[in-house]
Symmetry: C2
Subunit: 229 residues, 2 copies
DNA sequence: ACCTGAACACCGTTCAAGT
DNA sequence: ACCTGAACACCGTTCAAGT
């Protein structure tokens, strides 16, 4: 019942916010966020770029709506009772959501944009941390730590996935550095890195987000690790 | 003795790579990385934008040289003998370097650019982790975890610092959400976040990178946390 | 070899005008 | 109220030409 007062005035809209958001979402999904420009979006919809500004204040405003649209479609499964299991599962869902929507990572990491439909994850994480025996303040702290870790890990994972798409994965920069300054000298100045250079990519591929998360939880849930503040 | 063979041919260069890099570094330091454009840089130096392309393949190539220049100027103090103390100190230096040069965060986090002059930090971290009793493979893993955490934390810290500069720090988005859907309903659907919304910024300001790092180390250096792989 | 001038193919956004 | 057309103020980069 949104027809506020009397009948609608003026020209009836040909474009709806929902349609524009949906079209933007499709372009990002199909061709990546870099391909989403106001002109490109307008071409897809069949209007001029300027018509979009009648529905959204700016491109950022539009992106905020796309973000909320994506967040509203995220899975919200039933969670296990054990708080630590809940924690690992929700963090995994959060990470998965970012991996599948890599364009939101820089926006959300910079803290400029947030989707109301996704805050339940943070609520669950803090609640589960409290369930593990932390105070609310401690839970806030650990939630931050987890978030920073997750954001950084996803950024790196997205990068690797992007690289895998195009090039035949040339030599890692560490190999280049070792090659440039010579193996002899490299082994002296950076013994570990010169050994690891060749297998760096393999080790990277074997990295487990969940294992790292468990390390953080092991350290953060230890009662001794939280002095009175 | 780089004058390879015979005397120099052609027109003597008016611009040097070093001068261009220095000018670019100054612009970024004074006005931020967003202000560095090829045209702006050329104006500063007193040439056309196109002249720059005779010294660098692209803007990215130029940025790579600026990055290396910055990395080469980072402090490299004597480190304590105790491996855990070394770890915390080197990570602090790394974080500090990023906080003081926020423009490198997205570049390095995406893994596209790396400065040879800064790899000693990674070498020290891995060596210290081995000194704490880990295998090289385990040390690699934990180094990744630390790196992800650091990258994410710095990105957030830089954001906050940027916000503090301009606006009088409007309400946090959590407060906005709570206000929009009502305190009553918010307290039901997200009890912890509705309680934390008002003090979120204060808690954020009280977050300690070092404390989070210690949590990670506590968990990761525990012998039980590394099953055979 | 080193640098210039003009141009290409883009951006997000403003603003006056049309229906 | 809704949309168009032209324009503004930018980008990074290419390419032929000058010295």
């Amino acid at each position: 019942m949104k027809t506020s007062s009397g009948r609608a005035k003026g020209r009836p809209p040909r474009l709806s916010k929902e349609d524009i958001v949906a079209a933007a979402r499709d372009i990002i999904a199909d061709e990546g966020a870099e391909q989403l420009t106001m002109r490109r979006l307008a071409r897809e919809i069949g209007c001029t770029a300027m018509a979009l500004y009648h529905h959204f204040q700016s491109k950022d405003d539009l992106l905020l709506h796309v973000l909320e649209d994506v967040a509203a479609r995220l899975p919200h499964p039933v969670l296990p009772a054990d708080p630590r299991e809940r924690l690992v599962l929700v963090c995994g869902l959060m990470r998965q959501a970012f991996v599948e929507n890599p364009w939101v990572v820089p926006l959300v990491a910079r803290g400029e944009m947030v989707a109301p439909s996704a805050v339940w994850m943070t609520e669950e994480i803090i609640a589960a941390l409290v369930g593990c025996g932390l105070s609310v303040e401690q839970a806030f702290d650990v939630n931050q730590t987890i978030w920073y870790y997750t954001a950084g890990q996803v950024a790196a994972a997205v990068r690797q996935a992007g690289e895998a798409g195009q090039k035949p994965a040339g030599p890692h920069y560490l190999e280049t550095i070792v090659a440039e300054q010579g193996e002899q000298r490299s082994a002296e100045t950076m013994p570990y890195l010169s050994r690891l250079a060749g297998v760096w990519r393999d080790l990277e591929a074997g990295y487990s987000y969940q294992r790292g998360l468990h390390h953080i939880l092991d350290g953060a849930l230890d009662p001794d690790s939280h002095p009175a503040r």
